[in-house]
């Protein structure tokens, strides 16, 4: 193996214990015969390996557990107080400010449709009534005119029938 490859392994798998025994032996044999790689390995261990060895695990202060426990107890209490969380959530979603627009739009449409249909229905009724009244007046007029003889029916058959 070339020195560049050896140095690659020294910086990674060799010093991190990731190599097979066979490959490890190969590198050790090279180090025994190459001063440059040997010096590189020593410098690497001094700066990047040894300072991190035998570091004590640092435990968190006791109050961290107390805070975790309190947070868990608090969220359990919240779940119990919320007897019908679904209903609360439902109302929250209705009245949530960012959803107000989405709630208002369909409401406005529904109101508009109701007014439109109601007015249309009313208008139709008025038109029908007006029509009927006009027809009634016309027939009344005809009735008066015919009986009063002022209307000339014109043809003999009409005279015969009447």
């Amino acid at each position: 193996m070339k020195c560049d490859q050896i140095k690659e392994f020294l910086m990674t798998d060799y010093t991190d214990g990731e190599l097979s025994n066979e490959r490890k032996k190969e590198i050790e044999d090279h180090l025994n015969n190459c001063c440059s790689c040997k010096e590189f390995e020593q410098a690497l261990r001094k700066v990047a390996i040894d300072p991190f060895k035998n570091i004590e695990e640092v435990k968190p202060p006791d109050y961290v557990w107390e805070r975790v426990k309190n947070s868990i107890d608090h969220s359990k209490e919240q779940d119990q107080i919320d007897i019908v969380p679904g209903i609360r959530g439902f109302f929250s979603s209705i009245f949530a400010p960012r959803r107000a627009v989405f709630t208002a739009i369909p409401a406005v449409v529904i109101i508009f449709l109701a007014i439109f249909l109601t007015r249309t229905h009313l208008n139709n009724k008025i038109m029908v009534n007006t029509y009927l009244n006009e027809q009634a007046e016309f027939f009344a007029y005809l009735d008066n005119e015919v009986n009063g003889g002022s209307v000339d029916l014109g043809t003999d058959i009409e005279k015969y029938l009447l």
């Binding site: 990731e18 990047a48 991190f52 640092v58 968190p60 961290v64 557990w65 868990i72």
Partner: protein
């Protein structure tokens, strides 16, 4: 991190606080150490550790034993630590921290052991401060916590070769920095 039995995990998932406390005792050291070293701030480390365990408690019921429990905790802790460290302003890690450690005189009440430990912590913080978030995370998990490349890859959800290249780059940076220091001292 200590092993945790399946029964404890199942009980804790049902809401049993005693079982959850066992999980906390077994893994809080790992979580806190990792966060502390990646974020390099005790206050942030305490807050993040708290958040991590609350998150673990709430999501225990979703843990399906498809991966190892340790890997699952590693993942939550490391993600939280990385997110915190990315919020830290650049330049907060300063080379001068190491110089301060050398110049600071020890207090009278401190034992030699305590002084050495504190100095060592400062050296580590200084070295890790030279690395970016990704390199620092891999160095902490490998060099301090002793995770294998495979475990690191699973925790970070990255390729094993990515782990290798980040560690290589991290060590190159540390070597280069040391060489510059030696040259500076010689001048």
């Amino acid at each position: 991190m200590q092993d945790i039995s399946k029964d404890i995990i199942i009980e804790a998932a049902k809401g049993d606080l005693e079982s959850f406390e066992e999980i906390y005792r077994a893994s809080s050291g790992f979580v806190y150490s990792v966060v502390l070293r990646i974020a390099n701030n005790r206050h942030d480390a305490e807050e993040v550790t708290q958040e991590v365990f609350i998150k673990i408690y709430k999501n225990l019921k979703n843990f399906k034993f498809e991966s190892s429990f340790k890997t699952w905790i590693y993942r939550i802790a490391v993600n939280a630590a990385i997110n915190t460290s990315k919020k830290i302003v650049k330049g907060r890690y300063k080379r001068s921290d190491f110089d301060v450690a050398i110049q600071t005189e020890p207090g009278k009440d401190m034992t030699r052991e305590v002084i050495e430990r504190k100095d060592k912590e400062k050296v580590i913080a200084s070295l890790l401060g030279m690395l970016n978030s990704d390199q620092r995370t891999c160095m902490v998990l490998r060099a301090i916590q002793g995770l294998s490349y495979k475990e690191i890859a699973e925790a970070l959800k990255i390729n094993i070769n990515t782990v290798r290249s980040r560690l290589k780059r991290a060590k190159e940076i540390l070597l280069t920095s040391k060489r510059k220091e030696v040259i500076k001292n010689e001048m």
